[in-house]
Subunit: 410 residues, 2 copies
């Protein structure tokens, strides 16, 4: 009986699978051939590598010679000045990493226990972790299918339906908790549409904190990302456009807030001669001088890096233009992207196709990766408030990052 | 009338003041002359400076050449191995600083919201801050007048009077909160008397987490500090015996706890191919490779540094031996000190004498400093539970740190 059934079912299902497999193989082959038109994997082509063509050695050796390697040193101040000049932020505070920059920024927004903070479900986990460090709760919002950032229109509608204003505080009508702030993330360097988002912030009295960890060198209508809200957080992790080993920075246009933020990053110690007096629970978040020294050398090369990244991005964009079913994310009309990580987008969600591309590319030495697991699926965040996340869920099965280092173009 | 009064009071009070002033001047002169027998201030002699006589440049330049500067790299593992060999700890996790090492250690001890943790009132603020990061409450305990660490006998008596055991948990009978852990600090490198302290930990079911930030190279009865409890935290800040710019490490003898601790320091990301899945709220606390490279070079020189520090300490101890009213803190019989910061102790608390010594030494270029403001006096900790702190309060008016860098002896 079992043998008979097997015989009967095989001829019915097999041809369909064969056709599907052949179709998929054709699509994957075309994608891989297009990638091979740009990339030549000898060994492994990493997703993103740092490069040190400038004064890195000179500056770090100077730290050793002068013995200023730690939290006090000229390179920290110099790096902050160079970042302020580059981004146009009035004040910059260099920190030990991007997560700590975001943590302090949220504290500056007054985020405290019992508050909620709106964050995209589609982002690196640090965005939500920083909210948790403030003993507040992340509240997940959906993504825009073009930029991968916040879906601003959907957010407006959602907040109208699910919140009420009480004494100028936006209250979640389900949890009855205040929604204190919102953290747009400029995913892979593509700026969120800030004008309508800032309108929403004004309308619902939400403090704007930008997670610009991925968007150093990205501009919204000519203004650098990370400088629109109360504070913005940059990251200089090893995989970012420029690196300091580990590091981050807070961008801020308000002098009082900037002073408070710096105070919190340096254990909240009062400037009190040789006495150790601290006026609040501060943090050990100051960037060391040796890391800032690398940052100073890297930022000198940033315009060159951005030029190369732009060149690579448009090489990808043009190469994939004729390929059906996929495209490379381009910058929106309102933006200039840093093209930190180039992103292949399937026209429609297709987990099997996505996994096949990931497996074949990685097997042949082209490092690619899917987008992060959506945060509302992680065990520690699955009970957090969330809007309906249909777009982010689709993007999980549409997005693949492809190699984006500056050495991939001449 | 006023004129008459002034005339009458002056001859009575002046001679007493004059005698006091002369006596104090004599004591201060003798202290300063004794210091000048060892120190020759040309410009300024800092309290503690790092020195880089070894492979620092070689290793950091190698990081630039290989482009491994960030969270992944051979120097991080190498530094952890060298620290394990040096301290005898079975497992070591390098972190971004000592505060983060302490934070993770306390989480490993199960410290959570609503708990209390016993910490000395006399320590750097990071010890209590790390407790606060766990959303727990520091509970302050008094100091031993010889080691400046915990007064173990007084603590035993206090816990007997002020706690009761409930289901093997030590409950503060006043606040009704569980006292989960205790954090002895080996102040300035002098080990706390661990045997009786560990007895107390067993008796009251307190998890032992050592703050060994200041005691790399200090031993209690032949065993390295930081290896007695569940975890110990080291610091490699710029002012420590060895430095990594900014950095710290967790020492741990329990493999399971060590794996969990490392997991938490690396955003709690699961090892799941190229997927980003995190199983709890983790932290961005991993030491970057560039900082670990400095650490590897520094630890190679650690035995030499410790020898120099010991030589300087005994030079101070011997020089101050004949000076009345003061002494230099020596190592207890049970201990071998690293003599991180040498400490001048007045026999009796005398704020005026202390301030005069501080002012005169600093004015002449000998950097000295008083001990930290007691933590229970700081605004954010003044409402925390505390035992009576008579010894710590006296020490505030008795203790002065004096220059302790290794270049101060041949």
């Amino acid at each position: 009986m079992n043998g008979f059934q097997r015989k009967r079912t095989l001829p019915v299902t097999r041809p369909i699978f064969i056709i599907f497999d052949l179709l998929m193989k054709k699509i994957v082959d075309e994608i891989i051939n297009t990638l091979l038109g740009i990339l030549s994997p000898d060994d492994v082509i990493p997703l993103h590598e740092p490069f040190f063509y400038g004064n890195e050695k000179k500056y770090i050796n100077d730290c050793i010679d002068t013995r200023f390697v730690s939290s006090i040193g000229a390179y920290v101040t110099q790096f902050e000045t160079l970042l302020a000049e580059f981004t146009g932020a009035k004040h910059v505070i260099a920190t030990v990493n991007g997560t700590s920059a975001l943590h302090i920024s949220l504290l500056m927004a007054g985020v405290r226990q019992g508050d909620e903070v709106l964050v995209p479900a589609l982002t690196f986990v640090a965005t939500a972790n920083a909210v948790t460090y403030c003993t507040a709760t992340p509240h997940f919002i959906d993504s825009n299918p073009v930029t991968l950032g916040i879906d601003v229109e959907k957010l407006d509608h959602y907040l109208q339906q699910n919140t009420r204003m009480e004494n100028n505080i936006c209250i979640n009508t389900t949890t009855l908790r205040p929604i204190r702030a919102i953290v747009p993330v400029h995913i892979f360097g593509t700026p969120v549409d800030m004008d309508p988002l800032m309108k929403i912030c004004n309308k619902f009295h939400l403090t704007l904190i930008e997670d610009a960890a991925e968007s150093l060198g990205s501009y919204y209508k000519g203004t650098h990302t990370g400088t629109f809200g109360l504070c913005g957080a940059l990251s200089f992790n090893g995989n970012k456009t420029i690196t300091t080993g580990g590091g981050g920075a807070i961008l801020c246009n308000n002098e009082k807030i900037a002073l408070q933020a710096k105070h919190l990053t340096t254990t909240a110690r009062l400037n009190n001669n040789f006495h150790y007096v601290h006026d609040q629970t501060g943090f050990n978040y100051r960037m060391p001088n040796i890391n800032a020294a690398i940052g100073c050398a890297q930022i000198e090369q940033l315009p060159y890096f951005l030029k190369k990244k732009r060149k690579l991005a448009f090489k990808y964009i043009n190469a994939f233009e004729p390929v059906k079913g996929v495209a490379i994310i381009n910058e929106p009309d309102y933006a200039k992207n840093n093209f930190w990580l180039n992103t292949l987008m399937l026209d429609k969600p297709d987990n099997k196709l996505l996994q096949t591309i990931l497996e074949r590319t990685n097997r042949m030495g082209i490092q690619t990766r899917p987008i992060w697991t959506l945060l509302h699926k992680l065990p520690m965040y699955k009970r957090c408030p969330s809007m309906e996340l249909s777009c982010a869920l689709e993007l999980e099965d549409r997005v693949i990052n492809i190699p984006s280092s500056i050495n991939l173009v001449d």
